[in-house]
Amino acid sequence: MTYSSQREQQDFFARTATVVGHLEGVRQVANGISLAAANAKAVAARAGNQAAGFVPITNFIDEMGGETRQLVGRVNRDAQRMVREVLAEKRLGDSLERMRRGIDRLDERSPYLDEIARRLTAEHSAARESTTRHLTNLCDLLQTISDHARAARMMSTRSRVEATIAGDYQESLESVADTVDHAAQHIRDVVMKCQSLLREIN
């Protein structure tokens, strides 16, 4: 990853911070999915054999909600770490620039300062590489969340089918399916936004 301008680096920081903000909302939605799954389990238990086919679906959705929350937690932590590292990289870059400006104005070369500048350059490069690695990792995690949300949408479609044979419990189970479907769609929309923000940086 390279920055052609200070503005680009500031943009990077702003985008990363925005991703962190968006994903906080996703965590809350993932909580909603787990709650819907818990409701569905309760309804399915009351429905008994009428909703037998619903039970494995609710288990899956409950598990998926939990996994999504964990993934979002990891993404948030990684994104916040990356924001810190971007800032550290910026500070190192600023330090290097000021050091070089001072060194350029020396009357005589200073091997001591040359060595300091060399070490600072190495630190700066290492920081930049670390940021790139974090970014790649972040993108991978976001894709995993998106895949989970797609699977949830498929499951909610299947659960609607199961709900049609649940008799008196059809409406309740369809409502659960709708909740899961909307939540999963929302998660996918947010993840796509985050992926788009990060893709422009990478």
Partner: protein, 254 residues
């Protein structure tokens, strides 16, 4: 960055300032270096914006690697916001600064340099040929604040006391004290919060043998001008005044 040697003996004092390339929006500052037989001590090394100019200026009078000590009189950014850069440049050095400000100064970046907190009553630092004294100057203006006294050179580095706001290119020393008063008065009335702290400091400093009083902004005082300054400062009413509090108070209801 201009360098002026203000004392030469077994050890030397240098002042750096009057940078012609200084950004216009930042306050001008004086930085000091004491060099004593291969050991150098940088006092109030300056803000981050002055670092690039300070580095070659300091390198012109000593090897950068021999800077073993830094000093920060207090926490202001124009004094020490370059700490993160010096931290990388002289990672082996020690920073002497008020104990009160340690957690604050480290926000500028201090991962390598050792922070030595100066206790409220002050302390000394032994260089090869001179023992320097960190003299308490609390609440003038900062609540944790020290000056540096050299009994051999008879120099008191006085931080913000004696400061004057001047245009670029001002001379290094006061040459007409009466004319200089107008450059100092506003600064001292507004920045120094306590007459009691002021008088306490004056009593302490009058006991010292001072040939040069070296502030962090503006011209240095030498010879009889040191006494003239102390007399002037003693008579000056500083700090929170009725005029200030009346201006800040909301208008009373009719």
């Amino acid at each position: 960055m201009l360098r002026t040697e203000i004392f030469s003996g077994r050890h030397h004092w240098h002042v750096f300032g009057r940078d012609p390339d200084k950004l216009s929006q930042i306050i001008d500052t004086n930085q000091y270096l004491v060099r004593d037989q291969g050991v150098s001590f940088l006092l109030d090394p300056g803000g981050i914006e002055t670092f690039s100019a300070m580095l070659p200026a300091v390198a012109s009078c000593c090897d950068i690697s021999e800077i073993s000590y830094l000093f920060a009189s207090h926490q202001d950014p124009d004094i020490i916001s370059s700490l993160g850069l010096w931290d990388k440049t002289v990672p082996h050095a020690k920073l002497y600064a008020p104990w009160l400000w340690e957690g604050f100064l480290k926000h500028f970046g201090c991962h390598n340099i050792e922070y030595v907190g100066i206790p409220d009553e002050g302390m000394t630092l032994d260089l090869p040929s001179v023992k320097l004294h960190f003299v308490p100057a609390h609440y003038l203006h900062s609540s944790g604040n020290f000056h540096v006294y050299d009994p051999v050179a008879r120099i008191l580095m006085s931080g913000d006391i004696g400061a004057a706001l001047e245009p670029a290119g001002a001379p290094m020393f006061v040459d007409d004290f009466n004319a200089h008063v107008s450059r100092m008065e506003l600064f001292h009335r507004r920045w120094m919060p306590s007459n009691r702290a002021k008088n306490d400091w004056i009593a302490r400093v009058r006991q010292l043998d001072i040939d040069i009083m070296a502030p962090q902004h503006g011209r240095l005082f030498r010879g009889d001008d040191v006494k003239r300054f102390l007399d002037w400062f003693e008579a000056l009413e500083v700090g929170v005044t009725a005029q200030h509090t009346a201006a800040a108070a909301p208008a009373a209801a009719a």
